[in-house]
């Protein structure tokens, strides 16, 4: 009898422990994956991986994806998708490079790509809300093609190299702090992620973005201007795509029309690996950062170990499926223990 009771209390305790742990796994599970990857990197390449030379490359290599992903995250939170970001990146980059070549004032070249991105974002947002296109997939598939085409038209389809210092600074510059050179791209990503965290967690508009993703009907009857909020989400996402174009232009000191092909898929991957729900309303900025790091570290570690580049793609695919299926299992366990 008493054994049965104590067993029962033990199970109950175990269950309540599990219930209490779930929110933390929810929040920090993906960071655990990042730690595992750091460990794998450190073990397989002990002399190279944890050196400043290697680690200081990561921000530059991953800044564009980090910037695209945070914009994509906002759109995915609304239960949307933006397929155009890779093309917008290229359009912004090409326009900047061509205008730089033609002697446009260098200082104006910094806001310009962001404005281009915002314009395409506005078109996406208006197409979705005012033309009542059935799904953001459609309108952004359209602008994916349009932006890519216009980018080629602007440049005649050929790469342009040589950009002014002020543009290069954004993608490849360093800020010396003591003896350490802090990459500008790292600073940009840090500032953006903190900014987006505050925006999404502590502003009314941020809260409304989550609400729209959770239940658009509830948002509407609560007096939230759903259309305006959606348009803002796409404009923000476009702005990030434009900024990513500036970063890639600065980093490569050029504009090339094939830039950013498939970049939208990397951004979506980072968001999904980071635990955001593809159906909207769920996910965190920290998760997105972790998702970006997982993809970036995976590439870095595989490169260091001389693994063929095609395997990277295979593994990223595996990680996406694993991360999301773990998420599904966790949710099932979570609801079963309610």
């Amino acid at each position: 009898m008493s054994t049965a009771t104590s067993e029962a209390t033990a199970t109950a305790r175990e269950r309540s422990l599990r219930v209490r742990l779930i929110p933390y796994i929810d929040r920090f599970g993906i960071l655990f994956l990042v730690l595992v990857m750091l460990l794998v990197g450190a073990i397989t390449q002990p002399d190279v991986f944890l050196t400043w030379r290697n680690l200081s490359n990561l921000p530059g290599q991953n800044a564009a994806n980090a910037v695209l992903a945070i914009g994509m995250f906002v759109v995915i939170l609304t239960a949307g998708i933006d397929l155009s970001v890779g093309s917008v990146l290229a359009l912004a980059m090409m326009t900047t490079a061509v205008l730089a070549r033609d002697g446009f004032p260098p200082l104006l070249l910094v806001p310009l790509p962001i404005l281009i991105g915002m314009t395409v974002g506005l078109i996406n947002g208006l197409g979705l809300t005012k033309l009542h296109l059935p799904h953001p997939f459609i309108v952004t598939l359209g602008t994916l093609n349009i932006a890519r085409g216009v980018g080629n038209l602007v440049s005649g389809g050929v790469p342009v190299s040589g950009l002014p210092e002020v543009v290069r600074f954004w993608g490849a510059g360093n800020i010396p702090i003591g003896d350490v050179q802090i990459p500008v791209s790292l600073v940009i990503v840090a500032v953006l992620y903190i900014g987006f965290f505050i925006f999404l967690q502590y502003t009314r508009t941020g809260r409304h973005i989550y609400a729209i993703g959770g239940n658009p009907q509830a948002a509407r009857v609560s007096g939230i201007n759903v259309d305006r909020t959606l348009i803002l989400a796409y404009v923000l996402c476009g702005a990030m795509a434009g900024l990513a174009g500036l970063l890639v232009a600065g980093r490569t000191n050029s504009g090339f029309p094939n830039a950013g092909i498939g970049a939208e898929l990397d951004a979506i991957s980072a968001v999904i690996i980071g635990g955001a729900s593809f159906f909207g309303g769920r996910g965190s900025v920290l998760g997105v950062l972790a998702g970006v790091l997982v993809i970036g570290l995976l590439r870095n570690i595989l490169n260091l170990n001389n693994v063929q580049v095609f395997w990277q793609q295979v593994l990223i695919g595996v990680v996406i499926i694993l991360a999301v299926s773990l998420d599904v299992v966790r949710r099932r366990v979570g609801s079963a223990s309610e």
Partner: protein, 262 residues
Amino acid sequence: MAREEVPVIEARGICKYFGAVTALEDVYLKLYRGEVLGVVGDNGAGKSTLMKILAGLYPPNAGEILVDGRQVHFSSPRDARDLGIEMVYQDLALAGNLRIDENIFLGREQVRRFGPFKFINNAESLRRAKEHLDKLRIEVKSVRQRVEELSGGQRQAVAIARATAFDAKVVIMDEPTAALAVKEVRKVLDLIKDLKNHGIGVILISHRLDDIFYVCDRIMALFRGRNFAEAPLAETNRNEVIGWIMGNRSPVAQAARILDLN
């Protein structure tokens, strides 16, 4: 039957067409402070459409709405909410991914100002939500729970808490007990009685005559988009109301209705 008091909300001659379909034709409705009005009618009688017009979700094609005797025009639910007209929707209109307090204050978040910026004040939001739920004697484990974790009855309670969080004058409820377990129904109905005791006018749409006869002061029936019959609860009975829903009117009730409208 005629009351001197100004109705808290009144609809006059409301018409609503969806294309060639007439949803409402010349419909009248009055609701007084602290009164619970039951609205009955068959499916498609126009109950929900009328409520959505009162809540600002649809504009009427003709007719007027008066709040405290003054004519108003709602171009969105926000306009109606600003005047204290709240609706609890049949599908509850809650965001399951948000916390209880976040749902209660959705669209009217508690904010703190920092210069030109406004930031959500979570501590205040949680505190006020808890306070409000306590006032309505609604029990939840924690206001931090996500709404998707709640039972049907708890969700209904949250939806009602949401509707009454800001000095509501009128709360419109569309089938609030339809999806509830028997045990939970009584709680929601008692909650409606509480609202009444706080001086709030309640319009209750329900198919369940048990609910109607438990909480309502007055019953009004719509039939094919028109006013059909109306009576104080004390002057009618279940059989008569069932007749109204099916389109049968007793001469007595008809006379009462004509007297009331005049």
